[in-house]
């Protein structure tokens, strides 16, 4: 198990190094000079050059890369071109919205998907199964921003249970913050839950047709005992894969939902930074997201090994 963890750690570090180079190069070749953009079209060339020097844009590429990575390692993301504040602060602030939102959505989606998938698999072909399959089909098909707007219409405008957007902040306690994240989290969770329920169902159906399930029944276990003691843990491998992918997606992919609900999250930050050519912010946020995805995958790899002893050796 230790060797397995070490190997995963080594591949994690390699992945991060490669990702940093790719991100840096990609941002380098994007057209548009941040200094020129910040000063407007009427700026004089010498003013632009001065700003470039101030921002460090005149240094050779490799020096800028090393300075950027060196800063990242120490938690210094640099200073935003447009906000003129340390990027670490901006990201930290946004992360307090995006991270809880992603977790909230993930928990919701798991809480919906597991029972639904298990129900559908154990009662294959029943009305319950058909309902789960029908609803999840819809859930996958409906765009989440449209669903979000529908929810705003019903729960915020008509019923007035929730506010239509914005974020209450955490300083007044957890409840108001969670409340303002509830509608966005549901909107994000719906398609995820639909996919997860379907994966759960098919993984469980596959497992339930395995030989060792028959062995368990022959030992005298009831159907229910067989499901909980033998089938579920074996069905978790594909489900964990999907949960890992979903968490990364939820963290990075909430741009549209954050815009619909006016949430000051990472997604909106990237969106704004791109349109303002605030390249260093873009670089940093993307790097952070990549870091999160890689860490999540690392966690999923460890979870695999916890679930399946066969993987611990490799």
């Amino acid at each position: 198990m230790l060797r397995y963890t070490l190997r995963r750690l080594v591949s994690l570090i390699i992945a991060l190094a490669v990702a940093s180079v790719v991100i840096f190069v990609a941002v380098e070749i994007v057209p548009g000079d941040p200094a020129a953009y910040m000063l407007g079209i009427n700026a004089r060339p010498d003013t632009v050059a001065a700003l470039q020097a101030e921002l460090g844009l005149d240094l050779p590429v490799h020096e800028r890369y090393l300075a950027w990575v060196g800063g990242l390692v120490q938690g210094d993301f640099g200073t935003s071109y447009t906000y003129r504040t340390p990027i670490a602060d901006i990201i930290g602030e946004r992360l307090w919205v995006s991270l809880p939102l992603a977790l909230y959505a993930l928990i919701l989606s798991t809480l919906i998907a597991f029972p639904a998938g298990i129900l559908a698999a154990t009662r294959r072909g029943s009305v319950a199964d058909m309902l789960v399959m029908g609803i999840t089909q819809l859930g996958v098909a409906i765009p989440n921003f449209w669903f979000a707007m529908l929810m705003v219409l019903v729960f915020a405008i008509n019923l007035r249970w929730f506010s239509a957007g914005g974020f209450a902040g955490w300083e007044h306690g957890i409840a108001p913050g969670l409340k303002s994240l509830t509608l966005p989290a549901i909107a994000l969770a719906l398609p995820q839950a639909s996919i997860l329920a379907r994966v759960m169902r098919s993984a469980l159906l596959d497992t339930l047709s395995e030989d060792f399930i028959r062995t368990a029944r022959a030992k005298g276990l009831t159907r229910r005992q067989t499901l909980w003691r033998h089938a579920l843990r074996n069905a978790l491998i594909p489900v964990l894969t999907i949960i890992g992918l979903q968490f990364s997606f939820l963290l990075a992919g909430a741009i549209i939902i954050e815009n619909v609900f006016f949430l000051p999250g990472l997604g909106r930050l990237v969106f704004q930074a791109i349109s303002q050519r605030d390249l260093i912010v873009v670089e940093s946020v993307v790097m952070l997201l990549v870091f999160a995805v890689i860490i999540v995958n690392f966690a999923v790899d460890l979870a695999y090994a916890a679930v399946d002893p066969r993987l611990r050796r490799s």
Partner: protein
């Protein structure tokens, strides 16, 4: 004294009749062998006793255990019965255990399920005792082992331990040794016999192999197409088989095809000091790389028109050697020549060389693409020609190939799922034959087939060999099959050929101790029966 009595058992699944009027008995402390080919209904008879039938099943008749009709019990009572009064072991030990739970857990579970008040510790102690009883002592096989850390034979012992942990009255064994090597098979059969004698259990032993039960069963039941065709005391059954099907089954089990067997002296395949190493996982991340020698300096010749057998247990390196001969894997030493030309792995194997050899694999179900028609599947080797045949040439070759294996030319338009296992294996042979190779490698090609189908395929191979002057490299763990179809045989163990020679000579006067143990372990039909 009767323990289990099945009376007029009938079974329909989704309206299709599967079993008709099956009646049989298992005595307390007795062994009843239920014999039949695939589709005979022998396994479903067993599942009827366990009441673990597939969905849509409609059973009729009585299944009396100690005089109590199982069919009338509710699900809760059945769960109390399974694993406690009646237990079952299965054919495939590799998949019968839950891969993510330890063997100790799985054996202890049988105990805990039926006696929930037992403490975990007591259950685990009892699990350890039971594992010890089935030949898995705790110092070598601690309860914390996972199934993947054990061999097939060891896993089958764990399954047996789970089944006998509560000393059931009746044990049902569904082809318990079919997936195992001969020596392991002999050990497992001995274990079962011993357990029956010690505990006074009744054993219902289901198998397709007459030889397996011939020296252990007290009673024999022979089934065909969901019906019992003949039953009685074993000695009587083997002494005088009355039903034509029983006789046919018996003859097929020991079938020896007729072959002209005129081998030329010129060697077709020359294997010289071949070595195949596999890299193994390093002990430490930065540790030295380690090698596993799967094939260790193997040398032999195969003459044109000759049929050469290669026997050995699983893991002995026979499949690795096959892959090397086919040029699929590189070798780390030695030389393989086919028709005088060196075979090298990878893309450098010339098409001409590949045309000279074809292979037929064991699994007639997994070795075809289910979405292609038979015609396309059989014609696949044509891509080895530099000039693609015209469509009329192709059709003629296809029709000839299909007809030479006993199928019809218009079978080419069907899909593979429309054929039975035996027919599929004929199609696999047609695919190998269509480009008229000189060497056909048969990798356990008849191991998955029923005895009567196997006899037909062996006849077919013998006939094709004579007609086209084919050479066969016949790889199998089944000694009786190798004996019946090869001129010479090689015995392989741990990557080496330990004995080679004329087939009859090797079998009659084996020189190497390992060969002797293999032959001794192989189940044999009683002599007086084989003569009938």
């Amino acid at each position: 004294m009767t323990l289990l009595r099945i009376n007029g058992l009938g079974l329909e699944i989704h309206g299709t009749p599967i079993l008709r009027d099956v009646s049989l008995e298992v005595a307390r402390g007795g062994i009843t062998g239920v014999i039949g080919e695939s589709g005979s209904g022998k396994s479903l008879t067993a599942y009827s006793v366990m009441q673990l039938l597939p969905e849509g099943s409609a059973p009729r008749g009585e299944v009396l255990l100690d005089g109590r009709d199982i069919a009338l019990l509710d699900e809760a009572a059945l769960c109390r019965m399974r694993g406690n009064d009646v237990s079952m072991i299965f054919q495939e030990p590799m998949t019968a255990l839950n891969p993510v739970r330890t063997i100790g857990d799985q054996v202890a579970e049988t105990i805990l399920i039926h006696a929930p008040r037992t403490s975990r510790r007591a259950a685990r102690r009892r699990a350890a005792e039971t594992l010890e009883r089935v030949g898995l002592p705790g110092d070598q096989f601690p309860l914390s082992r996972y199934p993947h850390e054990m061999s097939g034979g060891q896993r089958q012992r764990v399954v047996i331990a789970m089944a006998i942990a509560l000393r059931p009255k009746l044990l049902i064994a569904d082809e318990p040794t079919t997936a195992l090597d001969v020596t392991t098979q002999a050990q497992i059969l001995d274990l079962l016999k011993g357990l029956v004698a010690e505990d006074g259990m009744g054993l219902m032993m289901i198998t397709h192999d007459l030889a397996v039960v011939s020296d252990m069963a007290d009673d024999i039941v022979i089934m065909k197409s969901g019906e019992v065709v003949e039953q009685g005391p074993a000695r009587q059954i083997f002494g005088a088989m009355t039903h034509p099907y029983s006789r046919a089954l018996m003859e097929a089990s020991g079938h020896v095809p007729e072959r002209a067997g005129a081998a030329a002296d010129a060697p077709l395949l020359e294997v010289r000091d071949v070595i195949r190493d596999y890299p193994m996982a390093r002990r430490h991340v930065l540790g030295p790389s380690r090698m596993f020698r799967a094939v260790d300096r193997v040398s032999f010749n195969l003459a044109k028109g000759e049929s050469l057998g290669l026997v050995g247990e699983s893991g002995c390196g026979k499949s690795t050697l096959t892959r090397a001969i086919l040029g699929l894997d590189p070798i780390q030493g030695g030389e393989i020549r086919l028709g005088g030309e060196v075979v090298t792995a990878g893309h450098s194997v010339s098409r001409e060389q590949r045309r000279k050899m074809q292979v037929v694999f064991q699994d007639p179900y997994g070795s075809f693409n289910p979405r292609h028609r038979v015609g396309r599947l059989v014609c696949e080797p044509f891509h080895l020609f530099d000039r693609q045949p015209r469509s009329d040439e192709r059709d003629t070759a296809l029709a000839n190939a299909l007809e030479s294996v006993g199928l019809k030319a218009d079978d080419a338009n069907k899909y593979i799922h429309e054929f039975s296992g035996g027919q599929r294996q004929r199609i696999a042979i047609a695919r190998a034959l269509i480009i008229r190779p000189e060497l056909i490698i048969l990798d356990e090609a008849v191991s998955a087939l029923d005895v009567s189908i196997r006899a037909q395929i062996l006849d077919l191979l013998a006939d094709l060999g004579d007609r086209f002057g084919l050479s066969y490299l016949f790889i199998s763990h089944d000694l009786s099959v190798v004996r019946s179809i090869t001129d010479r045989v090689m015995v392989m163990k741990s990557g080496r050929i330990v004995e080679a020679g004329e087939t009859a000579q090797v079998f009659d006067t084996p020189a190497h101790a390992y060969t002797r143990s293999l032959i001794a372990a192989a189940p044999r039909l009683p002599d007086h029966a084989a003569a009938t």
